[in-house]
């Protein structure tokens, strides 16, 4: 049976491109460029909580890094480095090799050096930490929204949650919707190019991991604002994919796990953002506006401008 050290050497040690010292010492050494701030984020993925225990390990490897890079995207940072701590029930080398393939596929896609980590025995748990660079003072935060800003969202949220509902037998999607929603669930695309392009355009930005309304709520809490969102303006893909209208609506407004970006921008930036959508070939949809009001409050309006009931806004691990 290969040792912990052999497994790391065999599957997690690849040439680095912009790193002083990578895997294999007590720590890795990186040299952020002069004039750059370093953005740091960590998201832990737990078997049975964040993914089904039988999830394909290559998809899981992609997703484990992608959801972390999504946080860098939301800050407008250029991803540069990643470490990953992992607990595994047993040293199943085929599983580890597939996980590493997926993890490095995401690393290669976003020019990230994998510089270190830790492997240990325990219930399946993956804890990457990622680092990105942003010119000093230019990071996007949750606190930068102003009253009267437009609220935007990228892509078509809700599809990942629908994909999970299908896998769990809570709904039955047709084949095309299955393919689309399971790709959203298993191979999320962190919106790195969008985050970089939003520097100087967006006021506040967040990645939609907990649920669209919950995450917009986080922007509003930090910015001290309320917001109105028009349900009819939300991207319709999740609604069109699923015959169960109530489930589809819940996935759309509270589903999380798509790793789209939600952001605010002054109305004067509207045309530039539409031009950016065309350039990136990524739908960017204005869905509402921020208002002075109770910090964090989100009103969802129907086509007649009347408030709609919100059963839940998103995911809370301990709620």
């Amino acid at each position: 049976m290969p040792s912990e050290f052999e497994l790391i050497a065999r599957h997690f040690t690849r040439p680095v491109r912009h790193t002083v010292l990578g895997v294999g010492d007590d720590g890795a050494i990186v040299r952020p460029a002069a004039g750059m701030d370093l953005v740091v984020s960590t998201d832990m993925l737990v078997g049975g909580t964040h993914f089904l225990q039988d999830t394909d390990p290559e998809a899981l490897g992609w997703k484990a890094l992608a959801v972390n890079l999504s946080d860098l995207a939301a800050m407008g940072a250029q991803p540069r480095w990643a470490v990953v701590a992992a607990a595994l029930p047993a040293p199943d080398e085929a599983w580890i090799a597939a996980f590493a393939r997926g993890f490095f596929a995401a690393a290669d896609a976003f020019d990230v050096d994998v510089i270190g980590g830790d492997t240990t025995r325990g219930p399946l748990n993956l804890a990457p930490t990622v680092f990105g660079e942003v010119p000093q003072g230019q990071a996007l935060t949750r606190a930068g929204a102003r009253a009267g800003d437009e609220l935007w969202v990228s892509g078509a949220p809700g599809r990942a949650a629908l994909g999970l509902a299908h896998l769990q037998g809570r709904t039955r999607l047709d084949l095309a919707a299955q393919a689309d929603c399971s790709a959203a669930l298993l191979r999320p695309q962190p919106r790195v190019a969008l985050g970089l392009a939003l520097r100087g355009l967006a006021g506040a930005c967040i990645d939609v991991s907990d649920g669209l309304l919950a995450d917009i709520g986080h922007i509003l809490e930090r910015s001290g604002l309320a917001a109105e969102i028009e349900f009819a303006r939300l991207p319709r893909a999740a609604l069109d994919a699923c015959a169960d209208a109530e489930l589809a609506r819940s996935c759309l407004i509270a589903g999380g796990d798509d790793y789209e970006l939600a952001f605010t921008a002054p109305p004067a930036q509207h045309e530039k953002i539409e031009a950016l959508a065309r350039k990136l070939q990524l739908p960017l949809t204005p869905i509402g506006k921020t208002l002075a009001g109770a910090a964090g409050q989100v009103r969802l309006l129907d086509a007649a401008g009347q408030p709609m009931p919100i059963v839940h806004r998103g995911y809370d691990h301990f709620a």
Copy 2:
């Protein structure tokens, strides 16, 4: 029941001292000083693997950060920042509050800003990642040993492993030894001041987490050297603490978990290192020397200079 977000706000959000943006956004923002390399390390602690499930949460909080800072010490880096991802079976607020007290006690002791993290539901798992600064090119690594260097170790390794053996009923220590060994196990002291002082003095350095011979072996593998260690020169505290000579010897040479530093230095530095021991009031003991030979090979010599059998050198999670 408090939400995930309330728990983070209540227990993991404290003022930062040298950080651009701390807990509460998609990522934290730090600004490494000009001319500095950034050292990054992550060590995961799993309930039942790295600590007994009923370990006092305050001690666990200290240890979770301390063992990570130990890696920075081994690189000669000044600890600066930490994030921590944590999976918890349930939102037991008293447990979380005690864990946070211990974690922040270590952060305060070593001037570390806790800048972010992630909390989620799952089998108990703690995954801090830490960051330190070191002047460019001055980090200590495992690869810097030269043939003929002296091998040194700080403190008195083996006591943490004895403390664990006592808790598990594998031996029975007297009261004084119990107190000493359980302090070594539950409240390890990362040798940060030593690591900083060894810049420019030591060739190679590592923290003793897996076992003294195993970790010295890691230096030797990276440096392409062999070594001889004289058993009679090893710090005797573990041997004196325990009547079971075989267990004590095993804990001393292969016990790990004390987080002492093992390092190499040219004989010409001997006096300076002895002066450093006096200044830091920390025993530093020369225990052997490096040799040209099969990379990674360690010979343990008895008082007559004869090789002693080595049953195992240290811990491997998957061996």
